[in-house]
């Protein structure tokens, strides 16, 4: 199945890095969408058949945790794979993200390998 990936980060630099990292994987990526914050992300999710989201937490307007909350209340998107990629490294934030349904968590600074590993793990069908 071809993947529609959405990258959500208010930093254009991080979005560019993630686009490059994704292009280096063997994943069958159909399209990579980009959003500046959670609010833009929700509009893209609504208009496209997104299969994977890579999202920051600290963003203006709608942040990453609020985005997760809004996705989980929708029956249509509650199982959407979301990996958080963020400077937020405290146990409390990781726990909150996991409780809200994040399937992976990568702390900035990150290596390309860490991103690939988390994305592949999160797309792997449950045994």
């Amino acid at each position: 199945m071809d993947l529609n990936v959405l990258i959500v980060d208010d930093s254009a630099a991080i979005r560019k890095i993630l686009v490059r990292v994704l292009s280096q994987t063997d994943l069958p990526i159909k399209q990579v969408h980009e959003a500046n914050d959670g609010s833009e992300a929700l509009k893209i999710v609504e208009a496209n058949d997104v299969s994977l989201i890579l999202s920051d937490i600290n963003m203006p307007n709608v942040d990453g945790l609020e985005l997760l909350t809004q996705l989980r209340v929708s029956p249509k998107w509650k199982d959407l794979s979301v990996v958080m990629i963020t400077t937020e490294g405290s146990q409390a934030k990781v726990l909150e993200a996991v409780q809200l349904g994040a399937k992976g968590y990568v702390r900035k600074p990150f290596t390309a390998e860490q991103i690939k590993e988390k994305v592949l793990a999160c797309l792997k069908p449950a045994a």
């Binding site: 208010d10 930093s11 254009a12 630099a13 890095i17 490059r20 400077t87 937020e88 405290s90």
Partner: protein, 176 residues
């Protein structure tokens, strides 16, 4: 939490971010205390605020040529002059360095919030944080290039009265 611990945390965070995101080994020189902020010559400066029971500001600043090199290494493209990508790369460097510092400090100082970074590119300007005098300055060196990283942190007296006031510390930009 003493000054020595804070210095070790800041120094480690800077080395991690430069090493992981840019593949650059940096040397962190002996830190020193600076009171007030001298005028900057032509520089790219990124600032970020921390707020909670403690408040503070983190700053990274370097010559435009080094900022372009940072962006080139981070984004794997050539940047001969400062543009939006270069400013964004500097903002993200500040975000990652002081985001890591924040995570370490939270274990000792309680929950802290991090502001959205601000980047300034210009000449003959000074940055000043209202109510804060002493900065710990860390000189960083990456080959021929150098950068200054500054950090200040103090207890938030207002926090007791306004526990929900998790806002970034106000910064003033003035002409030198």
């Amino acid at each position: 939490m003493d000054q020595e611990n804070i210095e070790a945390i800041v120094s480690k965070a800077a080395k991690d971010v430069f090493g992981t995101m840019l593949g650059l080994d940096i040397e962190v020189g002996a830190s020193f205390i600076e009171k007030g902020s001298p005028a900057e010559s032509q520089k790219v400066v990124a600032l970020i605020g921390l707020a909670g029971q403690w408040i503070g500001t983190g700053v990274i600043g370097c010559r435009p040529e080094f900022a372009c090199r940072i962006a080139s290494l981070m984004l794997m493209a050539e940047y001969p002059a400062v543009n939006e990508d270069v400013l964004d790369a500097m903002a993200e460097m500040a975000n990652m360095i002081f985001g890591s510092v924040k995570t370490e400090l939270e274990e000792h100082l309680g929950a802290l919030g991090l502001s959205i970074p601000t980047v300034i590119f210009g000449r003959n300007f000074a940055t000043r944080s209202v109510g804060q005098q002493a900065w710990t300055v860390f000189p960083l060196k990456a080959g021929e290039d150098d950068m200054e990283l500054k950090f200040c942190l103090m207890p938030n007296r207002d926090f007791q009265m306004h526990p929900r006031a998790l806002r970034a510390h106000p910064l003033v930009l003035e002409h030198a």
